[in-house]
Point group: C2
Chain length 416, copies 2
């Protein structure tokens, strides 16, 4: 056990198919291996936990074609943020009518592209964007994004997205005047939101907008409660059923006369646990002979896949890989000692964990490998093009269901 | 004036050739335009300010082939951090014997690659790396990287690189025993270091290592004083002559019996002022009608080029571009009002300036363009592969000297 979890927290596990792939193929490091069967399993679990709710996958979490194809086959909806994400979904077999353009920052050409792709719904928070939607996606469904004060999530939005309820109500009334179809309100309480009470104030603000538009004769019908569903990394996240119960309770409470349609937008909760990054230890050293901490430098860092270690926001679970035929080496039952973990670039910010206490085997040495678990979300897509000449993180998508036979996804790679 | 500079600080200017290129070609935004003539001019200025000093360009600052070709023609040395950076330099016409492998984090295969490319010199801070250098680059020149406590730079290294002087001395003695050529010590006081006193303690620590090895019969001959030479963004940076004087004074003070060879490693100071990013305003909005600040969303943000706005470390100078034929628009002499500036992705951290006070014209609206000055360093190479489906920053390298005729660099693009 190398991650600073409490005893009661279940550590993430490597999907069996990923373990087998890594053992059989021993791919060059670093790389991300994603098990599509696990993605599908997590999607189905969410769909079951959220009955009568549209489950809309946040493409940004992992836009791998194999991931999108599997989710399209499952009938998922997709939250898209740009023309490229739209095209990725269409190429994966998704129907444009199941795409929702959730980014409030879009150019007129982006909207026209989305409209020509048949995108059903657009989120907005400002008049100029609303005008552009009316001009380039006439008749489209429109939601207003609400600025809500949520308890701090692990990676909060701050005030970047959304507007005040009064402004949202005004925009939705104007949308109707412009010939658009104002469907409702969208909120987001911050990614990796571990506080189940976060949704209540957001749904309350949504109810305000429903009431304010109703008195102007506009009947809204939908709330998009956003993403934020967490993954168990260092701290345990609630289960999908826990999230569903909390969100449903907030909706029932603030809409006593009848709940609107619900949309939920998981990204991390669908793909994180399906992925494992295998990395190599490049250097282990003490800066001075009497230093307590060793510095461990990996071949992966903030700029080639671990962007969410910024400010040590996400503390991943690390697992040393036993050396082939040398079990005196970096085994998990070795004595562990404190380490600071850093990435391979010449950038001083490319330090993964300086303050978060990590321990790794005293026997760890250059050339050893470590697996970084639950890394299927927000990793490869953040890679830099080649900062310091270090290439983006290669991705191998495999399919646990097919791995004994011939997998159509097996060994597909990107970025190398 | 839209950047919060004091009156005495000269704002960066757009190189004339870049201005002309943007006017004539009106390229799609966002994009970075780099004037190679300005790069050469800044390199020559540094070489003149640092006589009898090896000027070694830090490739990571901007690895564009046109930049590297121009500097190779000037006879520059190159600080490289990975096999890809080595190959880029060789492809640009640089001699392997003028490359210095400055990254202390390298795999055995990286060292072998460097050795086969003829790389002259390797920096190390740990025994295992030294063993690898001895094995894969026999006889190579080796410097030890020293951990030094420098005054805070704008983007400090913390303690990521380098070891204590005692350890450095021990490594260099061992290097000689391993048949390597221990040449000296390398230090780095942090990028964008505006405090001229930063180098004195670093050079003092280097002198300690020289003394500690001398008593063991080893005569070191070189100090690499690193980079850190600043660019005037929000705060004025010292001139190259100022830096050279301060560094020379530190060396003369700590090496009274004779100065060793000097190496300086500028990156930012060579390329920053040569580049301008042209961006488009995608959305201007108030979150509530009575908000003082407008939010201005650009089509460039932290994940497609402006990585150094993390924690608002670098406050770039922004210049609104007058609208074609509509001078009632976003002109610099319009009344300015306070703004918060954000990027185009759905990521809550993709906010450029929330705390740093920026003002932009009240008339600014979606579709207007802004130029972001002195952005030739640490921008395009940090771009993500496609977070949120937003492509990496395209780069156009032009050559101001040739622009009236036929430029061999003109219109060269990358990333689109």
């Amino acid at each position: 056990m190398t991650t600073p979890t409490s005893a009661s927290v279940p550590a993430p596990v490597t999907p069996r198919a990923v373990h087998r792939f890594l053992t059989e193929h021993d791919p060059p490091t670093p790389c991300l291996v994603v098990d599509i069967a696990t993605v599908v399993d997590r999607y189905r679990g969410l769909a079951a936990a959220f009955p009568d709710t549209r489950v809309q996958y946040a493409v940004k979490a992992n836009p791998e074609p194999a991931v999108l194809r599997a989710l399209a086959r499952e009938g998922a909806w997709f939250d898209v943020a740009s023309p490229v994400e739209i095209d990725l979904c269409l190429d994966a077999g998704a129907d444009g009518a199941r795409l929702s353009y959730g980014n409030t920052v879009k150019k007129p050409a982006d909207i026209a592209h989305a409209h020509s792709a048949g995108v059903a719904e657009y989120t907005c928070e400002a008049d100029s964007d609303l005008d552009n939607i009316a001009a380039h996606a006439p008749g489209a469904q429109v939601s207003a994004r609400l600025l809500t004060d949520a308890p701090a999530s692990v990676t909060p939005f701050g005030r970047k997205f959304g507007c005040a309820p009064t402004q949202a109500a005004r925009l939705l009334v104007r949308a109707a005047e412009l010939g658009l179809d104002p469907v409702g309100v969208s909120v987001h309480v911050g990614s990796q939101q571990l506080d189940l009470t976060a949704w209540d104030p957001a749904v309350a603000a949504a109810a305000e907008v429903f009431a304010a538009t109703a008195v102007r004769g506009l009947r809204l019908r939908r709330i998009n409660v956003g993403g934020g569903l967490g993954t168990s990394y260092r701290d345990a996240a609630p289960t999908p059923a826990d999230y569903a119960r909390a969100i449903r309770a907030a909706v029932d409470h603030h809409f006593p006369t009848g709940a609107p349609e619900l949309v939920v937008e998981p990204g991390r909760a669908v793909v994180a646990e399906a992925g494992v990054i295998r990395a190599e230890v490049v250097l282990v050293t003490r800066k001075a002979p009497d230093d307590e901490h060793r510095w461990v430098y990996l071949d992966i860092g903030r700029y080639n896949g671990l962007a969410e270690t910024e400010n040590e926001a996400i503390a991943y679970h690390l697992e040393p890989v036993p050396r082939d035929g040398d079990h005196s080496g970096a085994r998990t039952d070795d004595a562990n000692g404190p380490v600071i973990i850093a990435g391979p670039t010449c950038d001083g910010d490319d330090v993964l964990y300086l303050h978060t206490p990590y321990r790794l085997p005293e026997s760890l040495r250059a050339g050893d490998r470590v697996d970084i678990l639950a890394t299927g979300a927000y990793t490869a897509s953040y890679s830099s093009v080649a900062f310091n000449g270090i290439p983006p993180l290669p991705v191998h998508c495999i399919n646990g269901h097919d791995i004994d036979g011939q997998s159509d996804e097996g060994g597909a790679t990107r970025g190398d």
